[in-house]
Amino acid sequence: MLTAEDKKLIQQIWGKLSGAEEEIGADALWRMFHSYPPTKTYFPHFDLSQGSDQIRGHGKKVVAALSNAIKNMDNLSQALSELSNLHAYNLRVDPPRFSLQFLSQCLQVSLATRLGKEYSPEVHSAVDKFMSAVASVLAEKYR
């Protein structure tokens, strides 16, 4: 469960990214496609070359959704409800447990490369828990 301290750390660290969100989203996605090629199977309609407009656009979307979730950490279920429907009924991404694990890992690596030491064990723990909670909500309607 996300503690008050976790929520504070997440908001703080997310605050440090202002302006770079789009870049981080694109970077995280690119890293995910590169480290976990099977994740590309969900994007056959995308230009998956490095720096493509579609990757940038989608990265921006993903980060915007996470930003929204961070503003509504006390009610993730509601904040992510639309996305939960989308992932369950339309996208049918292999249970987020797996795919989000890969996105979570790559997002964290992206954050760590930018924040260095500031990506402390406590921050790491809070972000990992948060991404886990997001994955849980997105998987709620799968069956």
Binding site: D27, W30, R31, H34, S35, Y36, Q105, C106, Q108, V109, A112, T113, R114, L115, G116, K117, Y119, P121, E122, H124, S125, D128
Partner: protein
């Protein structure tokens, strides 16, 4: 038989040459115990693990982290024979230590994040992909002798 390209080998050995095994190992193990607290079950005789600060400062955690990462170094010297390198350790983790192999994957991912925080922009996507492959294969080799 695992295939490593020349570029992948370079990305591994090049980075490894700059890693402080003791610091990095201590950091990775501490983070495992902090981020996934249930892993503390394997270290009940390590003393004070009551908070992130306690874990990070715990000398047994540091020492064991160094041991674990030193073993990783052996794998890097034997990239073409990970299975052989980890055969005995695999048996140990199964028969004596009773560690769920899922934990190897968790530690591997944490190691990648530690490297990312340390090397920042030098930890490129290509670098990450190679290291994710390596930690995945090490986890696999460690799980191989489970029965």
């Amino acid at each position: 038989m695992v295939h490593w390209t020349a570029e992948e080998k370079q990305l591994i050995t090049g980075l490894w040459g700059k890693v402080n095994v003791e610091e990095c190992g201590a950091e990775a193990l501490a983070r495992l115990l902090i981020v996934y607290p249930w892993t503390q079950r394997f270290f009940s005789d390590f003393g004070n693990l009551s908070s992130p600060t306690a874990i990070i400062g715990n000398p047994k955690v540091r020492a064991h982290g160094k041991k674990v990462l030193t073993s990783f170094g052996e794998a890097i010297k034997n990239l073409d024979n990970l299975k052989g390198t980890y055969s005995k350790l695999s048996e140990l983790h199964c028969d004596k230590l009773h560690v769920d192999p899922e934990n190897f994957r968790l530690l591997g991912d944490i190691l990648v994040i530690v490297l990312a925080a340390h090397f920042t922009k030098d930890f490129t996507p290509a670098c990450q992909a190679t290291w994710q492959k390596l930690v995945g294969l090490v986890a696999h080799a460690l799980a191989r002798k489970y029965h």
